[in-house]
């Protein structure tokens, strides 16, 4: 995660609050929606739709939240369906399964921490770019 990167302009207080709320929304939805992996993506998507016509700073950070949540959705969905197949079908708990669950836990934890950090920084009006999702957002989100 890269912090304090120069943004195209200095966002005002209102924009900073909106951008920060986008990150907070995904965190709350993640906690409420466990173990269903789609809830946080839906929450981020709704927030994104609500702010897609907002200012560039708000839109940029809502998009970054959305794309990062989408990646989490993919890895979490695989873990979720694997668990369902163990509980309800013929699959058994294997070393690969436990290793996968630990890996996605670490992945989610990292995401959780950087999202909190991003929420705090953006609230102060600072621009934050995540590894991979930041450059991806730069490609998707235009001024």
């Amino acid at each position: 995660m890269k912090g304090n990167i120069a943004f195209a302009y200095k966002p005002n207080e209102y924009e900073a609050e909106k951008a920060s709320n986008g990150y907070l929304m995904s965190l709350i939805a993640l906690m409420v929606g466990m173990p269903l992996p789609i809830i946080n993506l839906v929450a981020s998507f709704i927030f994104y739709l609500g702010n897609r016509k907002g200012t560039y700073f708000t839109r940029w950070h809502c998009t970054q939240t959305l794309v990062s949540q989408f990646t989490l959705l993919i890895v979490n969905s695989i873990g979720f369906s694997w668990t369902v197949s163990i509980v309800f079908r013929d699959n058994t708990v294997s070393n690969k399964y436990i290793a996968y669950m630990i890996t996605i836990f670490l992945f989610n934890l990292t995401e959780f921490i950087i999202t909190i950090a991003a929420a705090i920084k953006t609230r102060k009006g600072l621009h934050i770019e995540f590894w991979f999702w930041g450059p991806l957002t730069n490609l998707i989100c235009k001024k």
């Binding site: 890895v75 013929d90 699959n91 058994t92 708990v93 294997s94 070393n95 690969k96 436990i98 290793a99 996968y100 630990i102 890996t103 670490l106 992945f107 590894w131 991979f132 450059p135 991806l136 490609l139």
Partner: protein, 266 residues
């Protein structure tokens, strides 16, 4: 764009490396063996045997024990398995069934011996059950079906109704397909090394599957071992070419064993 692709590749490599590295840790062994070592599988098995004895007649004939023990020893000794850990119990029951309880206790019903045409067929079933034991399927299945808290509580106080449910589960419901395939493959390996023809097990599967419609009630072992015909074919494929097999197994009096089981046809 290049930056996105590069960072994405790093992320994917990081994810898969972590997964691969963690996969090398034997979590399953740690969870099942360490945990169940503490709750004493043997005690649960002993309680189950007591429970079965209350409703069934156990055959305690030295001659029968000698023959069944000889089969067990032949399979175990050829495969470096500690035979003294495995306990055999023969019960008078027309059900064509054999199953394994926690603590490496194998239950054989007289109906199964009657249904077998040769010692190699019976050896096949015993090798299959030993396969389940060696892969640790029994406790995993109990925990999966009944929950760890129930299994742990049984180890402590021996609740009669729960024990009956567990025995019923282990004797009359199937393992999952993966576990059955593992036990089949293990059985073929054990039999090959013991110079007992695995075709015996395949023949038994095929014959009982064909008879299933005539006597569904007695054929418990086959109903708990589905897809018998396909499995018989797989067993025959796994047979090692060039292995020499006993035409009749030494130290085993098959006629005596059949007679003890109540089969007067020989």
């Amino acid at each position: 764009m290049k930056k996105v692709i590069f960072q994405f590749s790093v992320l994917v490599i990081l994810f898969f490396s972590a997964w691969l590295l963690l996969s090398n840790i034997n979590f399953v062994k740690h969870i099942y063996i360490e945990k169940f070592g503490k709750i004493n599988e043997k005690r649960i098995g002993d309680l189950m045997i007591e429970n079965i004895r209350r409703n069934n007649t156990e055959i305690i004939s030295d001659a029968t024990k000698v023959d069944l023990e000889a089969i067990k020893r032949r399979i175990c000794d050829s495969n470096h398995i500690n035979a003294s850990e495995i306990e055999l119990y023969l019960f008078k029951d027309d059900a064509i069934n054999a199953f394994t309880l926690p603590g490496k206790k194998m239950i054989i019903c007289t109906g199964l011996i009657k249904a077998c045409d040769s010692a190699s067929e019976l050896s096949g079933v015993m090798a299959h059950e030993i396969g389940h034991m060696q892969h640790g399927h029994i406790m995993r299945r109990l925990v999966k079906e009944m929950g760890i808290s129930i299994v742990l509580s049984i180890g402590g106080n021996g609740n009669g109704e729960m024990l009956r449910r567990m025995v019923k589960l282990l004797s009359s419901t199937a393992f999952d397909r993966k576990q059955e395939s593992e036990a089949d493959a293990a059985a073929v390996e054990y039999l090959n090394k013991a110079h007992i023809d695995p075709a015996g097990l395949a023949n038994l599967f095929t014959r009982l599957a064909n008879e299933k419609n005539d006597m569904p009630k007695q054929l418990e072992w086959i109903s708990t071992h589905p897809n018998s015909k396909e499995r018989a074919e797989t067993i025959l494929k796994l047979k090692q070419a060039g292995t020499t097999y006993y035409s009749s197994m030494p130290n085993i009096d098959w006629k005596r064993l059949k007679a003890t089981a109540g089969d007067k046809s020989l």
